[in-house]
Symmetry: C2
Subunit: 155 residues, 2 copies
DNA sequence: ACAGGTTCGTTGCAAATGCAACGATGTGGC
DNA sequence: GCCACATCGTTGCATTTGCAACGAACCTGT
């Protein structure tokens, strides 16, 4: 009677949200984000978007809003406002690109660099913690993430 | 000179956001969510929170806001407002719990059940698609998700 | 029965978000 | 050089969100 995709008494096909991969991934993303954000929100007063922008600036200086938009997967208006907030806090500098005045060059200030010098080791430690949690399964996990990013990139 | 956690010329430790697991997971979550939402937003006019609430109601009828809050990992105010919207659209019924009048019993209406009868097979197909993408790696991937949920549950 | 404390769901309010529209700047065709 | 068109970043606006506060209902001990 049970054909493996059974029908419940109420006429609906059986479905377990808790086992649904998109939901599980969203949940893990949320938990990891919260765990990490706990560190850098309480200690540095950063939100997730702010952390992302700073992290990208730390690895590639003098980039445009558009560059960040692509690199950190955020809407350009979100990047723009985040950058404005970071500038107001003195962590990021904005100046017009001399070659193309439509562009804005974002870069870390001295303060911004100093903060990231404290923050990045914490991030690396967190990464190490996750890898330790997963042990030998980490490589496969990361590969699967890459596969899904490929399969569902933009579409 | 490169000790494996090198220092960049700008004095910051090397860090690759694109390889940072929390970021990668967040990205996959976003992509999967978008891919799925494309289906049920255009065809059924549902948002992600609405989908989650309906999905939970489909598998366990007559539950309280608090139950859903736990089951679908959403703030209670978000659940409350989502339920109100679904009620206004005639997909969900709300009634006071006769045993404990603080509680609200949420359940699918006939219309709601009918919609879910169309939706759930799509969700199952999407799940199958993901599993096909990952092939034999899916089991390990899912296990790793579970491990991370355990490790970072609530804290 | 009643006072103190707890749980449930809703709501007010400020902040964040997405989307579209906009001005400014660049580019290419002619 | 000029005009149509594309790109960049910001902003207006409506919606969504999280948090705290609230009233209502329940529970406990006395």
């Amino acid at each position: 009677m049970d054909d493996g995709q059974g029908i419940e008494p109420d006429g609906l096909p059986a479905f377990d949200l808790g086992g649904f991969t998109p939901y599980r991934v969203a949940l893990v993303a949320q938990r990891l984000s919260e765990a990490l954000a706990r560190e850098y929100r309480v200690r540095f007063g950063l939100s997730v978007p702010e952390w992302r922008v700073l992290a990208h600036l730390a690895q590639s200086d003098a980039v445009s809003v558009r560059d960040i938009e692509d690199a950190v997967a955020m809407e350009k208006s979100r990047v723009s406002r985040t950058a404005a907030r970071l500038e107001a806090r003195g962590l990021v500098a904005k100046r017009a690109d001399p070659g193309d005045r439509r562009l804005v060059q974002l870069s870390l200030t001295g303060d911004g660099r100093a903060m990231m010098a404290d923050l990045l080791p914490l991030a690396s430690a967190f990464q190490g913690e996750i890898e330790a949690q997963l042990g030998t399964d980490f490589a496969g996990f990361d590969r699967a993430l890459g596969r899904l990013l490929e399969a569902y990139r933009g579409g």
